[in-house]
């Protein structure tokens, strides 16, 4: 039997969850022994196999049309979809912009920010993805496993991945369950 395939990607997050994933140190070799690590944002292969993977992991919330694409693609290509970290699970810190709306957030960031001079303007390149309200992953596609934490600790990620790689459903509770 071939090893289960795992792929990951990130959306509206800070990459901190993937940093935390790397924080599991040598245990990543153990994961690599248990599973076939495919596309991730920190490896050469960037997109999950068209033929599909067993476990898809997504970090970050969804704040534009590009993220929506990533989310849908990962959902379509994975048997089990994991929402990794508070942004993917709840919306997280990026979702704070939902309180003021997109225009005000853009104005503040590109025009009014203390570090911006009078040339500051809101980017309008048609190539750019269209911004949306910030949503949790489960608001866009169905999610199978929620792994909260900002970021989830390396121990938590190791537990989740090793369980999934061995065909079990991780159950986060007690020490392994935290949202902060």
């Amino acid at each position: 039997m071939s090893k289960p395939k795992i792929a990951s990607d990130w959306m509206a997050g800070c990459a901190g969850c993937h940093m935390s994933l790397l924080d599991m140190d040598e245990r990543i070799i153990k994961i690599a022994e248990l599973a076939d690590l495919r596309a991730t944002p920190i490896t050469d292969l960037k997109e999950p196999d068209e033929s599909g993977v067993d476990v898809g992991v997504l970090e970050g919330g969804i704040n534009n049309t590009a993220n929506e694409e990533v989310a849908h693609r990962m959902r379509q290509r994975s048997k089990i979809l994991v929402a990794l970290g508070d942004c993917a699970v709840f919306g997280g810190v990026p979702a704070l912009r939902n309180f003021c709306g997109i225009q005000e957030a853009l104005q503040r960031a590109y025009v009014e920010a203390e570090s911006v001079d009078e040339s500051g303007k809101i980017p309008s390149d048609p190539e750019l993805a269209t911004m949306t309200k910030v949503r949790a992953l489960s608001e866009v596609v169905p999610v199978d496993v929620f792994v909260p934490g900002c970021p989830p600790e390396a121990d938590v990620i190791y537990y989740v991945l090793s369980e999934l790689a061995q065909g079990r459903t991780p159950e986060l509770k007690d020490e392994l369950l935290h949202w902060h």
Binding site: G92, F99, P148, C150, K173, H178, W179, H180
Partner: protein
């Protein structure tokens, strides 16, 4: 007794016990959020639901009285589902951002409840509507985004403190925690006691000074006594890495039952005075650092020749904030040891001496604080309980909604005037007349003054009235005034409570450290001020002292004036006993370790005694009983 079964275990409880309390007796933990043991059950959060055999619906166990033969289940799939749903709704109702909340990670009861249910996420997202954040208060921040509308704060403010500042406005999901009629908290009638912050189960009410300074799991808790005044509230001193993080009221505390006032909770947190960490010695008119040996030698050189010189020896003044152990050594050292004629306290007996003198002839005539908590009419005279001994004031205020009248007698403006049923304003020095008229009215005589008549009417209906009196009545009035008050109290069957002064005012009184002082040819002054504030009154009178020894924790005008300064511990760094205004002997425990070179007040006095060749005994407790107390000690 009521007998019921909870999760297949049988328990017997007194009538009136709730199912939640009965379960706790069996060590069965029922999740809860709006419930707090110090306040009345409310039943708003619906997290504590249980199933009762024969009941149509699930019930909130916090408000459900235990019934005979009840069969209760606390953890069924249906209950889990219900709790899960309740928590989901709570999370989606407001905006909970756990990653950066200062209570997240152990101190948030909402988060802990979700963890206990194994919630990895919430199924319904919030509406992303902004709720107001009020940062106008000096000590706390009110963030309505994190409020779960449990009303613990509202209930604590009313039920425990009697202040009724906090309330909920609007309906349903628009419910908002507000102060008064919607004014900023910092401009409201809030008296900054912080009880609301301590009972808040989430991060909706945040303590400014301790936020992010450590979660419950990072800090140490030391059970101790507040030394802010003579009430002697039970506190937990919260520390981390030998730093003061926060002061919390002890909800199990016999004296205060958890409430604290601004003095107790926040003043020590905002103390900016400069600490002294090494002895100082005046050389060529300038204070310079010295060793303890040098400082003690300098004291011995000056004071030893004065031993037994009586009137020309040493005037010795101690703060009434010092522990009994220190005051006892102080008394032995300067009284019996050196034979000084003036051995007293900074209070000079003003809040206690009259009462103590009277107790020698009439015996103990004061009552315990419990009488105030359960009183049905309260009279205050010569004390402003809104400013001093505030927690005793809370006891008087919080029973007012039960129809307990408050009568304030004070020639000056009193913080309780606006809430008093009758505020009597005798001319200064005419308290005795007012008491006399009240007494006459109590005996059925006609009184011409309408307000006195009104007060008398209210008091007449009471079965267990309490009179709280203070320094304002006894400090400068003739002794007859207090005698009159006792006569009046007996006539109406009232309990008398004397508030006294600082934390160990009563101990100082029992040790007879309660005389007025004036410099009169003494060659030296020893001031054991500890961590107390130095008053201008004290400074003025010490100005002309030829030699001043200051035993102090902080640099002050007094230490600047001194010839020798001995650095001593502050309240949080020393253990020792305190006797509160009702005679309750309590122990304060050191929560912090003092800097090297700083000694406790008792150690410093002991060292001085040894350098002077004076022997002292460890008999602080026995010494309390050398004089008849105004209220039973113990």
């Amino acid at each position: 007794m009521i007998k019921l079964t909870i999760d297949n275990q049988t328990v017997e409880v007194p009538e009136g016990t709730t199912v939640l309390e009965a379960a706790e007796k069996l060590n069965i933990r029922i999740p809860k959020l709006c419930h707090h043991p110090a306040i009345k059950p409310y039943g708003s959060c619906r997290l504590c639901v249980v199933e009762v055999e024969g009941f149509r619906t699930i019930q909130a166990s916090c408000t459900l009285p235990a019934g005979n033969g009840m069969v209760v289940r606390t953890d069924t799939p249906a209950l889990q589902e219900s709790r899960h749903f309740v928590l989901s709704m709570l999370f989606s109702e407001r905006n909970h951002f756990c990653p950066f909340c200062q209570v997240s990670g152990g101190d948030c009861e909402l988060q802990n409840a979700a963890y206990d249910e194994g919630m990895t996420h919430w199924p319904i997202q919030p509406q992303w509507s902004n709720f107001p954040v009020d940062t106008s208060h000096p000590y706390y921040v009110l963030d309505n985004n994190r409020c779960i509308l449990c009303r613990r704060c509202v209930r604590a403010c009313g039920e425990l403190v009697g202040n009724f500042t906090l309330a909920i406005e609007e309906r349903g999901s628009s419910n908002l925690l507000i102060a008064d009629v919607g004014v900023p908290l910092g401009e409201s009638t809030c008296i900054q006691c912080g009880t609301c912050v301590q009972v808040c189960p989430t991060g909706a009410l945040i303590d400014r000074t301790s936020a992010y300074h450590g979660l419950g799991q990072n800090v140490a808790y030391t059970s101790s006594i507040c030394v802010g005044c003579s009430v002697g509230c039970n506190i937990n001193v919260v520390t981390r890495d030998n730093r003061l993080v926060r002061i919390e009221g002890d909800f199990g505390g016999a004296v205060n039952g958890g409430v604290l006032c601004e003095h107790g909770r926040y003043y020590p947190m905002t103390d900016q005075r400069e600490r002294l960490t090494q002895p100082l010695l005046k050389k060529n008119g300038k204070l310079e650092p010295a060793s303890w040996d040098e400082a003690l030698t300098a004291i011995a050189d000056r004071v030893k020749p004065l031993v037994g010189k009586g009137a020309h020896s040493v005037v010795a003044i101690a703060s009434t904030r010092l522990p009994a152990e220190a005051l006892s050594i102080f008394k032995q050292l300067f009284g019996e040891g050196i034979g000084s004629r003036v051995v007293t306290s900074v209070e000079e007996g003003l809040p206690t001496a009259r009462s103590a003198e009277l107790a020698q002839t009439v015996g103990a005539f004061e009552a315990k604080l419990e009488a105030l908590k359960t009183s049905d009419a309260v009279i205050t005279i010569g004390v402003d309980l809104s400013r001093n001994h505030q927690v005793a004031g809370f006891f008087a205020k919080r029973i007012r909604p039960q129809g307990v009248p408050l009568i304030v007698i004070d020639p000056n403006e009193n913080g309780f005037d606006p809430i008093a049923d009758v505020a009597l304003k005798p001319e200064a020095g005419k308290d005795a007349d007012t008491i006399g008229w009240l007494l006459a009215a109590a005996k059925g005589e006609a009184v011409s003054d309408q307000k006195i008549g009104e007060a008398a009417q209210l008091i007449k209906k009471a079965q267990k009235p309490v009179i709280v009196y203070g320094k304002g009545l006894i400090a400068f009035n003739e002794p007859i005034v207090l005698q009159k008050l006792i006569e009046y109290a007996r006539a109406i069957g009232a309990s008398l409570i004397g508030v006294k002064g600082e934390a160990n005012s009563f101990v100082a009184s029992q040790y007879q450290l309660d005389r007025p002082f004036a410099l009169n040819g003494q060659q030296a002054a020893y001031v054991a001020i500890g961590d107390d504030y130095v008053t201008e009154r004290l400074l003025q009178r010490l100005e002309k002292a030829p030699f001043i020894i200051a035993q102090a924790s902080y640099a002050s005008k007094l230490t600047a004036l001194a010839d020798v300064v001995l650095p001593v511990t502050i309240w949080a760094e020393q253990s020792g006993h305190y006797v509160n205004l009702e005679g309750r002997v309590q122990q304060a425990h050191a929560a912090l370790v003092a800097a090297e070179g700083v000694r406790s007040n008792a150690e410093a006095l002991q060292a001085v005694a040894e350098s002077l060749g004076v022997k002292t005994m460890d008999n602080w407790k026995d010494a309390l009983f050398q004089r008849k107390p105004v209220v039973e000690i113990g």
